[in-house]
Amino acid sequence: MRGWQLASFALFFGLWELAGRWPVSAAFPPFSAAFLALVEMLRDGSLLKAYLITLQPLALGIVLCAVAGIGFGIGMGLSRSVEWLSLPIFIILQAAPMAAIIPLITYIYGIGLTSKVLAVIMLAAPVIVMNSYKGIRNTPPSLLQMCRSFQGTRRQEVMKIVLPHAAGLIFTGLRLGLAMGFIGIVIAELLITPTGIGDLITYNSSVADYPKMFAAIASIVALAAIALYLLERLERRWFP
Protein backbone atom coordinates (compact mmCIF):
# COMPACT_ATOMS: atom_id res chain seq x y z
CA MET A 1 0.00 0.00 0.00
CA ARG A 2 1.25 3.46 -0.83
CA GLY A 3 1.98 6.21 1.63
CA TRP A 4 -0.93 8.47 0.69
CA GLN A 5 -3.36 5.58 1.07
CA LEU A 6 -2.06 4.91 4.59
CA ALA A 7 -2.31 8.61 5.35
CA SER A 8 -5.91 8.73 4.16
CA PHE A 9 -6.81 5.76 6.39
CA ALA A 10 -5.05 7.40 9.35
CA LEU A 11 -6.94 10.63 8.73
CA PHE A 12 -10.27 8.79 8.51
CA PHE A 13 -9.74 6.84 11.76
CA GLY A 14 -8.35 9.95 13.44
CA LEU A 15 -11.50 11.93 12.59
CA TRP A 16 -13.64 9.03 13.76
CA GLU A 17 -11.76 9.05 17.09
CA LEU A 18 -12.26 12.82 17.46
CA ALA A 19 -15.95 12.66 16.57
CA GLY A 20 -16.47 9.85 19.08
CA ARG A 21 -14.80 11.79 21.87
CA TRP A 22 -16.57 15.05 21.07
CA PRO A 23 -19.21 13.46 21.62
CA VAL A 24 -21.49 13.71 18.59
CA SER A 25 -23.99 11.39 20.22
CA ALA A 26 -23.91 8.99 23.14
CA ALA A 27 -24.47 6.18 20.65
CA PHE A 28 -21.35 7.06 18.62
CA PRO A 29 -18.21 5.49 20.08
CA PRO A 30 -14.70 6.68 19.30
CA PHE A 31 -12.58 4.58 16.96
CA SER A 32 -10.46 3.20 19.80
CA ALA A 33 -13.51 1.82 21.64
CA ALA A 34 -14.85 0.19 18.47
CA PHE A 35 -11.42 -1.26 17.79
CA LEU A 36 -11.16 -2.76 21.28
CA ALA A 37 -14.67 -4.21 20.86
CA LEU A 38 -13.58 -5.75 17.59
CA VAL A 39 -10.56 -7.35 19.24
CA GLU A 40 -12.75 -8.73 21.97
CA MET A 41 -15.26 -10.20 19.52
CA LEU A 42 -12.39 -11.75 17.61
CA ARG A 43 -11.01 -13.24 20.80
CA ASP A 44 -14.26 -14.72 22.11
CA GLY A 45 -15.07 -16.16 18.68
CA SER A 46 -18.44 -14.44 18.30
CA LEU A 47 -17.33 -12.58 15.17
CA LEU A 48 -16.05 -15.73 13.49
CA LYS A 49 -19.26 -17.57 14.36
CA ALA A 50 -21.33 -14.72 12.91
CA TYR A 51 -19.34 -14.70 9.66
CA LEU A 52 -19.63 -18.46 9.22
CA ILE A 53 -23.39 -17.93 9.18
CA THR A 54 -23.39 -14.78 7.06
CA LEU A 55 -20.98 -15.98 4.40
CA GLN A 56 -22.94 -19.17 3.73
CA PRO A 57 -25.91 -17.66 1.83
CA LEU A 58 -23.57 -15.09 0.28
CA ALA A 59 -21.24 -17.75 -1.13
CA LEU A 60 -24.14 -19.95 -2.24
CA GLY A 61 -25.89 -17.04 -3.94
CA ILE A 62 -22.76 -15.82 -5.71
CA VAL A 63 -21.78 -19.29 -6.92
CA LEU A 64 -25.30 -19.90 -8.23
CA CYS A 65 -25.26 -16.50 -9.95
CA ALA A 66 -21.84 -17.12 -11.41
CA VAL A 67 -22.90 -20.40 -12.98
CA ALA A 68 -26.48 -19.65 -14.02
CA GLY A 69 -26.12 -15.89 -14.48
CA ILE A 70 -23.09 -16.06 -16.74
CA GLY A 71 -24.74 -18.91 -18.62
CA PHE A 72 -27.88 -16.86 -19.05
CA GLY A 73 -26.01 -13.74 -20.13
CA ILE A 74 -24.01 -15.69 -22.69
CA GLY A 75 -27.20 -17.34 -23.93
CA MET A 76 -28.87 -13.96 -24.30
CA GLY A 77 -25.87 -12.59 -26.14
CA LEU A 78 -25.69 -15.48 -28.57
CA SER A 79 -29.36 -16.16 -29.25
CA ARG A 80 -32.02 -13.64 -30.22
CA SER A 81 -34.84 -15.81 -28.84
CA VAL A 82 -33.23 -16.20 -25.41
CA GLU A 83 -32.64 -12.45 -25.45
CA TRP A 84 -36.28 -11.77 -26.36
CA LEU A 85 -37.53 -14.00 -23.56
CA SER A 86 -35.32 -12.89 -20.71
CA LEU A 87 -33.94 -9.41 -21.31
CA PRO A 88 -37.07 -7.68 -19.86
CA ILE A 89 -36.85 -9.74 -16.65
CA PHE A 90 -33.32 -8.59 -15.93
CA ILE A 91 -34.01 -4.99 -16.88
CA ILE A 92 -36.92 -4.96 -14.41
CA LEU A 93 -34.84 -6.72 -11.72
CA GLN A 94 -32.10 -4.17 -12.16
CA ALA A 95 -34.51 -1.30 -11.58
CA ALA A 96 -36.63 -2.84 -8.79
CA PRO A 97 -36.07 -1.59 -5.23
CA MET A 98 -34.90 -4.81 -3.60
CA ALA A 99 -35.67 -3.91 0.00
CA ALA A 100 -39.33 -3.78 -1.00
CA ILE A 101 -39.24 -7.24 -2.51
CA ILE A 102 -37.56 -9.00 0.42
CA PRO A 103 -40.75 -9.17 2.53
CA LEU A 104 -42.39 -10.86 -0.46
CA ILE A 105 -39.62 -13.46 -0.59
CA THR A 106 -40.00 -14.08 3.15
CA TYR A 107 -43.74 -14.46 2.70
CA ILE A 108 -43.20 -17.18 0.10
CA TYR A 109 -40.05 -18.95 1.29
CA GLY A 110 -40.07 -18.32 5.03
CA ILE A 111 -37.19 -17.05 7.11
CA GLY A 112 -34.64 -19.77 6.37
CA LEU A 113 -31.52 -20.03 4.23
CA THR A 114 -33.51 -20.11 0.97
CA SER A 115 -34.82 -16.58 1.42
CA LYS A 116 -31.37 -15.22 2.20
CA VAL A 117 -29.79 -16.92 -0.79
CA LEU A 118 -32.60 -15.54 -2.93
CA ALA A 119 -31.98 -12.03 -1.63
CA VAL A 120 -28.33 -12.31 -2.66
CA ILE A 121 -29.30 -13.68 -6.07
CA MET A 122 -31.92 -11.01 -6.73
CA LEU A 123 -29.35 -8.30 -6.14
CA ALA A 124 -26.33 -9.90 -7.75
CA ALA A 125 -27.87 -11.65 -10.77
CA PRO A 126 -28.90 -8.64 -12.90
CA VAL A 127 -25.45 -7.07 -13.01
CA ILE A 128 -23.77 -10.44 -13.63
CA VAL A 129 -26.19 -11.36 -16.40
CA MET A 130 -26.17 -7.94 -18.05
CA ASN A 131 -22.38 -7.72 -18.09
CA SER A 132 -22.03 -11.14 -19.67
CA TYR A 133 -24.71 -10.24 -22.19
CA LYS A 134 -23.06 -6.94 -23.08
CA GLY A 135 -19.63 -8.55 -23.31
CA ILE A 136 -20.98 -10.99 -25.89
CA ARG A 137 -22.94 -8.37 -27.83
CA ASN A 138 -20.10 -5.87 -27.99
CA THR A 139 -17.78 -8.12 -29.96
CA PRO A 140 -16.23 -5.87 -32.63
CA PRO A 141 -17.96 -6.66 -35.94
CA SER A 142 -14.65 -6.57 -37.78
CA LEU A 143 -13.32 -9.47 -35.65
CA LEU A 144 -16.37 -11.50 -36.62
CA GLN A 145 -15.88 -10.59 -40.28
CA MET A 146 -12.23 -11.53 -39.98
CA CYS A 147 -13.23 -14.95 -38.66
CA ARG A 148 -15.69 -15.43 -41.50
CA SER A 149 -13.17 -14.27 -44.09
CA PHE A 150 -11.00 -17.23 -43.07
CA GLN A 151 -14.04 -19.54 -43.22
CA GLY A 152 -14.21 -19.95 -39.46
CA THR A 153 -17.23 -21.90 -38.21
CA ARG A 154 -19.82 -20.47 -35.82
CA ARG A 155 -18.35 -22.67 -33.09
CA GLN A 156 -14.85 -21.28 -33.69
CA GLU A 157 -16.28 -17.78 -33.77
CA VAL A 158 -17.83 -18.27 -30.32
CA MET A 159 -14.91 -20.14 -28.73
CA LYS A 160 -12.01 -18.18 -30.19
CA ILE A 161 -13.42 -14.68 -30.52
CA VAL A 162 -16.72 -13.96 -28.77
CA LEU A 163 -15.99 -15.63 -25.41
CA PRO A 164 -12.37 -14.46 -25.00
CA HIS A 165 -13.53 -10.96 -25.89
CA ALA A 166 -16.34 -11.09 -23.32
CA ALA A 167 -14.18 -12.58 -20.53
CA GLY A 168 -13.08 -9.21 -19.15
CA LEU A 169 -16.60 -7.81 -18.88
CA ILE A 170 -17.90 -11.09 -17.45
CA PHE A 171 -15.32 -10.87 -14.68
CA THR A 172 -16.23 -7.25 -14.03
CA GLY A 173 -19.84 -8.40 -13.72
CA LEU A 174 -18.82 -10.97 -11.13
CA ARG A 175 -17.00 -8.38 -9.09
CA LEU A 176 -19.92 -5.95 -9.20
CA GLY A 177 -22.24 -8.88 -8.46
CA LEU A 178 -20.26 -9.67 -5.32
CA ALA A 179 -20.57 -6.05 -4.23
CA MET A 180 -24.34 -6.29 -4.70
CA GLY A 181 -24.32 -9.64 -2.90
CA PHE A 182 -22.80 -8.02 0.20
CA ILE A 183 -25.60 -5.46 0.16
CA GLY A 184 -28.13 -8.24 -0.34
CA ILE A 185 -26.93 -10.37 2.56
CA VAL A 186 -26.80 -7.49 5.02
CA ILE A 187 -30.32 -6.35 4.05
CA ALA A 188 -31.54 -9.95 4.34
CA GLU A 189 -29.96 -10.47 7.77
CA LEU A 190 -31.44 -7.24 9.03
CA LEU A 191 -34.90 -7.57 7.43
CA ILE A 192 -35.66 -11.30 7.45
CA THR A 193 -34.37 -12.61 10.79
CA PRO A 194 -31.28 -11.32 12.51
CA THR A 195 -28.61 -13.97 11.98
CA GLY A 196 -24.86 -13.85 11.63
CA ILE A 197 -23.46 -10.37 11.34
CA GLY A 198 -26.98 -8.92 11.16
CA ASP A 199 -27.66 -10.50 14.56
CA LEU A 200 -24.46 -9.01 16.01
CA ILE A 201 -25.53 -5.57 14.81
CA THR A 202 -29.16 -5.74 16.00
CA TYR A 203 -28.38 -7.49 19.30
CA ASN A 204 -25.64 -5.07 20.33
CA SER A 205 -27.80 -2.16 19.29
CA SER A 206 -30.67 -3.44 21.47
CA VAL A 207 -28.43 -3.82 24.54
CA ALA A 208 -26.82 -0.44 23.77
CA ASP A 209 -23.32 -1.93 23.35
CA TYR A 210 -22.50 0.63 20.65
CA PRO A 211 -18.76 -0.08 20.35
CA LYS A 212 -19.57 -3.70 19.45
CA MET A 213 -22.32 -2.64 17.07
CA PHE A 214 -19.99 -0.26 15.24
CA ALA A 215 -17.23 -2.86 15.21
CA ALA A 216 -19.60 -5.35 13.56
CA ILE A 217 -20.68 -2.79 10.96
CA ALA A 218 -17.11 -1.72 10.25
CA SER A 219 -15.99 -5.34 9.94
CA ILE A 220 -18.48 -6.15 7.17
CA VAL A 221 -17.66 -2.92 5.34
CA ALA A 222 -13.96 -3.75 5.58
CA LEU A 223 -14.49 -7.36 4.48
CA ALA A 224 -16.48 -6.25 1.41
CA ALA A 225 -13.91 -3.59 0.55
CA ILE A 226 -10.99 -6.03 0.85
CA ALA A 227 -12.73 -8.73 -1.18
CA LEU A 228 -13.59 -6.28 -3.98
CA TYR A 229 -10.12 -4.76 -3.93
CA LEU A 230 -8.51 -8.19 -4.35
CA LEU A 231 -10.87 -9.08 -7.17
CA GLU A 232 -10.09 -5.82 -8.90
CA ARG A 233 -6.36 -6.51 -8.65
CA LEU A 234 -6.94 -9.96 -10.13
CA GLU A 235 -9.03 -8.46 -12.91
CA ARG A 236 -6.29 -6.01 -13.81
CA ARG A 237 -3.75 -8.78 -13.90
CA TRP A 238 -5.86 -11.11 -16.05
CA PHE A 239 -7.54 -8.59 -18.33
CA PRO A 240 -5.20 -5.62 -18.62
Binding site: M146, S149, P164
Partner: protein, 249 residues
Protein backbone atom coordinates in the same frame (compact mmCIF):
# COMPACT_ATOMS: atom_id res chain seq x y z
CA UNK B 1 -9.42 -12.37 -65.57
CA UNK B 2 -9.41 -13.84 -62.12
CA UNK B 3 -12.12 -11.73 -60.46
CA UNK B 4 -15.11 -10.33 -62.31
CA UNK B 5 -17.84 -8.15 -60.90
CA UNK B 6 -21.00 -7.99 -63.00
CA UNK B 7 -23.89 -5.61 -62.40
CA UNK B 8 -23.38 -5.58 -58.63
CA UNK B 9 -25.87 -3.49 -56.69
CA UNK B 10 -26.05 -2.77 -53.00
CA UNK B 11 -28.60 -0.86 -50.95
CA UNK B 12 -28.17 -1.00 -47.17
CA UNK B 13 -31.16 -1.68 -44.91
CA UNK B 14 -31.00 1.97 -43.89
CA UNK B 15 -31.96 2.86 -47.46
CA UNK B 16 -28.51 4.11 -48.50
CA UNK B 17 -27.78 3.06 -52.06
CA UNK B 18 -24.05 2.34 -51.95
CA UNK B 19 -23.44 0.69 -55.34
CA UNK B 20 -25.35 0.75 -58.61
CA UNK B 21 -24.59 -1.68 -61.44
CA UNK B 22 -20.86 -2.00 -60.95
CA UNK B 23 -19.00 -3.89 -63.70
CA UNK B 24 -15.29 -4.51 -63.25
CA UNK B 25 -12.66 -7.11 -63.94
CA UNK B 26 -9.43 -7.65 -62.10
CA UNK B 27 -6.65 -9.28 -64.10
CA UNK B 28 -4.68 -12.16 -62.65
CA UNK B 29 -1.39 -11.31 -60.99
CA UNK B 30 -2.00 -7.57 -61.14
CA UNK B 31 -2.56 -4.92 -58.56
CA UNK B 32 -5.83 -3.06 -59.01
CA UNK B 33 -7.07 -0.19 -56.93
CA UNK B 34 -10.53 1.11 -56.20
CA UNK B 35 -10.24 4.87 -55.96
CA UNK B 36 -12.94 7.37 -55.18
CA UNK B 37 -14.19 9.97 -52.74
CA UNK B 38 -14.92 8.96 -49.17
CA UNK B 39 -18.30 7.24 -48.79
CA UNK B 40 -18.60 6.24 -52.45
CA UNK B 41 -18.85 2.53 -51.67
CA UNK B 42 -15.26 1.28 -52.00
CA UNK B 43 -15.31 -0.73 -48.79
CA UNK B 44 -18.75 -2.03 -49.66
CA UNK B 45 -17.56 -3.28 -53.04
CA UNK B 46 -14.43 -4.88 -51.59
CA UNK B 47 -16.43 -6.68 -48.89
CA UNK B 48 -18.93 -7.90 -51.47
CA UNK B 49 -16.04 -9.33 -53.50
CA UNK B 50 -14.77 -10.93 -50.27
CA UNK B 51 -18.22 -12.41 -49.67
CA UNK B 52 -18.46 -10.68 -46.30
CA UNK B 53 -21.64 -8.72 -46.97
CA UNK B 54 -24.58 -9.70 -49.18
CA UNK B 55 -25.30 -7.90 -52.45
CA UNK B 56 -28.73 -7.00 -53.79
CA UNK B 57 -28.04 -8.01 -57.32
CA UNK B 58 -25.39 -8.95 -59.85
CA UNK B 59 -22.60 -11.50 -59.63
CA UNK B 60 -19.07 -11.90 -58.39
CA UNK B 61 -17.07 -14.47 -60.36
CA UNK B 62 -13.74 -15.88 -59.20
CA UNK B 63 -11.94 -17.91 -61.83
CA UNK B 64 -15.20 -17.98 -63.75
CA UNK B 65 -17.29 -19.37 -60.88
CA UNK B 66 -19.91 -17.34 -59.04
CA UNK B 67 -19.11 -16.99 -55.33
CA UNK B 68 -21.62 -16.33 -52.55
CA UNK B 69 -19.44 -16.14 -49.47
CA UNK B 70 -15.81 -16.08 -48.34
CA UNK B 71 -13.49 -18.64 -49.90
CA UNK B 72 -9.96 -19.95 -49.40
CA UNK B 73 -8.74 -18.27 -52.60
CA UNK B 74 -9.44 -14.79 -51.17
CA UNK B 75 -7.88 -13.21 -48.07
CA UNK B 76 -8.89 -9.87 -46.58
CA UNK B 77 -6.75 -7.22 -44.91
CA UNK B 78 -8.96 -5.03 -42.72
CA UNK B 79 -8.77 -1.27 -42.47
CA UNK B 80 -8.96 -1.49 -38.65
CA UNK B 81 -6.58 -4.50 -38.70
CA UNK B 82 -9.07 -6.82 -36.92
CA UNK B 83 -6.38 -8.27 -34.64
CA UNK B 84 -7.19 -10.24 -31.50
CA UNK B 85 -6.07 -7.94 -28.66
CA UNK B 86 -5.54 -10.89 -26.30
CA UNK B 87 -3.26 -12.76 -28.71
CA UNK B 88 0.39 -12.04 -29.50
CA UNK B 89 1.69 -11.35 -33.00
CA UNK B 90 2.58 -15.01 -33.57
CA UNK B 91 -0.92 -16.25 -32.77
CA UNK B 92 -2.58 -13.41 -34.69
CA UNK B 93 -0.57 -14.10 -37.81
CA UNK B 94 -1.27 -17.83 -37.55
CA UNK B 95 -4.95 -17.31 -36.77
CA UNK B 96 -6.18 -17.99 -40.30
CA UNK B 97 -4.39 -21.33 -40.21
CA UNK B 98 -5.65 -21.98 -36.68
CA UNK B 99 -9.21 -21.59 -37.95
CA UNK B 100 -8.43 -24.10 -40.68
CA UNK B 101 -7.31 -26.64 -38.12
CA UNK B 102 -3.58 -26.55 -38.92
CA UNK B 103 -1.43 -27.99 -36.10
CA UNK B 104 0.19 -25.53 -33.70
CA UNK B 105 3.75 -26.39 -34.67
CA UNK B 106 3.14 -26.09 -38.38
CA UNK B 107 1.19 -22.85 -38.20
CA UNK B 108 3.78 -21.24 -35.93
CA UNK B 109 6.43 -22.12 -38.47
CA UNK B 110 4.46 -20.58 -41.36
CA UNK B 111 3.57 -17.56 -39.23
CA UNK B 112 7.22 -16.95 -38.32
CA UNK B 113 8.15 -17.00 -41.98
CA UNK B 114 5.63 -14.31 -42.91
CA UNK B 115 6.33 -12.26 -39.80
CA UNK B 116 9.90 -12.05 -41.05
CA UNK B 117 8.75 -11.21 -44.58
CA UNK B 118 6.69 -8.23 -43.45
CA UNK B 119 9.64 -7.04 -41.37
CA UNK B 120 8.40 -7.86 -37.88
CA UNK B 121 11.02 -10.39 -36.86
CA UNK B 122 11.61 -10.11 -33.12
CA UNK B 123 8.05 -8.93 -32.43
CA UNK B 124 6.48 -12.41 -32.34
CA UNK B 125 5.50 -12.17 -28.71
CA UNK B 126 4.31 -8.58 -28.62
CA UNK B 127 0.62 -7.78 -28.31
CA UNK B 128 -1.27 -5.54 -30.76
CA UNK B 129 -1.57 -2.76 -28.16
CA UNK B 130 2.23 -2.59 -28.03
CA UNK B 131 2.56 -2.00 -31.79
CA UNK B 132 2.26 1.12 -33.93
CA UNK B 133 -0.48 1.43 -36.55
CA UNK B 134 1.89 0.50 -39.34
CA UNK B 135 3.13 -2.57 -37.50
CA UNK B 136 -0.41 -3.73 -36.81
CA UNK B 137 -1.21 -3.40 -40.47
CA UNK B 138 1.81 -5.57 -41.26
CA UNK B 139 0.46 -8.18 -38.87
CA UNK B 140 -2.86 -8.10 -40.73
CA UNK B 141 -1.03 -8.45 -44.03
CA UNK B 142 1.11 -11.34 -42.76
CA UNK B 143 -2.03 -13.13 -41.55
CA UNK B 144 -3.58 -12.79 -45.01
CA UNK B 145 -0.42 -14.15 -46.63
CA UNK B 146 -0.19 -17.28 -44.44
CA UNK B 147 -3.31 -18.87 -45.87
CA UNK B 148 -1.77 -18.75 -49.35
CA UNK B 149 -4.78 -17.20 -51.08
CA UNK B 150 -4.23 -16.10 -54.69
CA UNK B 151 -6.28 -12.98 -54.19
CA UNK B 152 -5.52 -10.40 -51.50
CA UNK B 153 -8.17 -7.80 -50.75
CA UNK B 154 -6.98 -4.76 -48.82
CA UNK B 155 -9.08 -1.94 -47.42
CA UNK B 156 -7.02 1.28 -47.16
CA UNK B 157 -4.01 -0.56 -45.77
CA UNK B 158 -1.98 2.63 -45.37
CA UNK B 159 -4.58 4.93 -43.89
CA UNK B 160 -3.28 4.63 -40.33
CA UNK B 161 0.39 4.74 -41.24
CA UNK B 162 2.27 8.01 -40.96
CA UNK B 163 3.72 9.58 -44.08
CA UNK B 164 7.36 8.50 -43.62
CA UNK B 165 6.57 4.88 -42.91
CA UNK B 166 3.94 4.86 -45.62
CA UNK B 167 6.39 5.11 -48.54
CA UNK B 168 8.59 2.39 -47.12
CA UNK B 169 5.55 0.21 -46.47
CA UNK B 170 4.26 0.78 -50.01
CA UNK B 171 7.59 -0.26 -51.49
CA UNK B 172 7.79 -3.34 -49.27
CA UNK B 173 4.25 -4.23 -50.22
CA UNK B 174 4.93 -3.96 -53.94
CA UNK B 175 7.98 -6.21 -53.65
CA UNK B 176 6.23 -8.76 -51.49
CA UNK B 177 3.11 -9.08 -53.59
CA UNK B 178 5.01 -9.19 -56.89
CA UNK B 179 7.29 -11.81 -55.39
CA UNK B 180 4.34 -14.00 -54.39
CA UNK B 181 2.50 -13.23 -57.66
CA UNK B 182 -0.69 -12.30 -55.87
CA UNK B 183 -3.70 -10.73 -57.48
CA UNK B 184 -4.36 -7.69 -55.35
CA UNK B 185 -7.45 -5.54 -55.12
CA UNK B 186 -6.96 -2.61 -52.87
CA UNK B 187 -8.94 0.40 -51.75
CA UNK B 188 -7.49 3.85 -51.37
CA UNK B 189 -8.56 7.43 -51.51
CA UNK B 190 -5.05 8.65 -52.30
CA UNK B 191 -4.42 9.45 -55.98
CA UNK B 192 -0.63 9.26 -55.57
CA UNK B 193 -0.85 5.92 -53.85
CA UNK B 194 -3.07 4.51 -56.59
CA UNK B 195 -0.85 5.80 -59.40
CA UNK B 196 2.31 4.60 -57.69
CA UNK B 197 1.13 1.09 -56.88
CA UNK B 198 -1.44 0.03 -59.45
CA UNK B 199 -1.51 -1.75 -62.74
CA UNK B 200 -5.16 -0.75 -63.01
CA UNK B 201 -7.17 1.95 -61.28
CA UNK B 202 -10.97 1.87 -61.15
CA UNK B 203 -12.37 5.31 -60.43
CA UNK B 204 -15.68 5.26 -58.61
CA UNK B 205 -18.19 8.10 -58.70
CA UNK B 206 -19.79 9.44 -55.49
CA UNK B 207 -22.74 7.58 -54.03
CA UNK B 208 -24.26 5.52 -55.48
CA UNK B 209 -20.85 4.20 -56.52
CA UNK B 210 -20.42 3.39 -60.21
CA UNK B 211 -17.30 2.85 -62.26
CA UNK B 212 -16.63 6.17 -63.93
CA UNK B 213 -13.30 5.31 -65.56
CA UNK B 214 -10.57 2.69 -65.71
CA UNK B 215 -7.03 4.05 -65.81
CA UNK B 216 -3.95 1.94 -66.54
CA UNK B 217 -0.91 3.96 -65.44
CA UNK B 218 1.93 3.76 -67.95
CA UNK B 219 4.60 3.56 -65.28
CA UNK B 220 7.89 1.77 -65.78
CA UNK B 221 8.09 -0.46 -62.69
CA UNK B 222 11.68 -1.48 -63.27
CA UNK B 223 12.77 1.97 -62.08
CA UNK B 224 13.63 2.76 -58.50
CA UNK B 225 10.85 4.14 -56.25
CA UNK B 226 12.26 7.65 -56.36
CA UNK B 227 12.59 7.60 -60.14
CA UNK B 228 9.01 6.35 -60.45
CA UNK B 229 7.79 9.33 -58.43
CA UNK B 230 9.44 11.63 -60.99
CA UNK B 231 8.40 9.48 -63.97
CA UNK B 232 6.41 11.21 -66.78
CA UNK B 233 3.82 8.36 -66.91
CA UNK B 234 3.31 8.53 -63.15
CA UNK B 235 2.82 12.29 -63.15
CA UNK B 236 0.46 12.16 -66.14
CA UNK B 237 -1.63 9.50 -64.43
CA UNK B 238 -1.92 11.61 -61.28
CA UNK B 239 -3.03 14.60 -63.40
CA UNK B 240 -5.53 12.56 -65.38
CA UNK B 241 -7.14 11.11 -62.24
CA UNK B 242 -7.21 14.49 -60.54
CA UNK B 243 -8.96 15.91 -63.60
CA UNK B 244 -11.75 13.37 -63.18
CA UNK B 245 -12.04 13.41 -59.40
CA UNK B 246 -12.00 17.21 -59.28
CA UNK B 247 -15.60 17.35 -60.51
CA UNK B 248 -16.70 15.33 -57.44
CA UNK B 249 -15.31 17.60 -54.78
Amino acid sequence: MIVEVKGVRKTYDSGVEALRDVDLSFPKGQLSTLLGPSGCGKTTLLKIIAGLIPKNGGEVLVNGKAVHGPGPERAFVFQDFALLPWADVLRNVGFGLELRGVERKERDEVARKYIAEVGLKGFEHRYPAQLSGGMRQRVGLARALTVDADIILMDEPFSSVDEQTRRKFQEDLLDLLRHHQKTVIFVTHSIEEAAYLSDQIALLSPRPGRVSKIVRPAVDRSKSPDEIRRDRGYLDTVDEIWGILRQYV
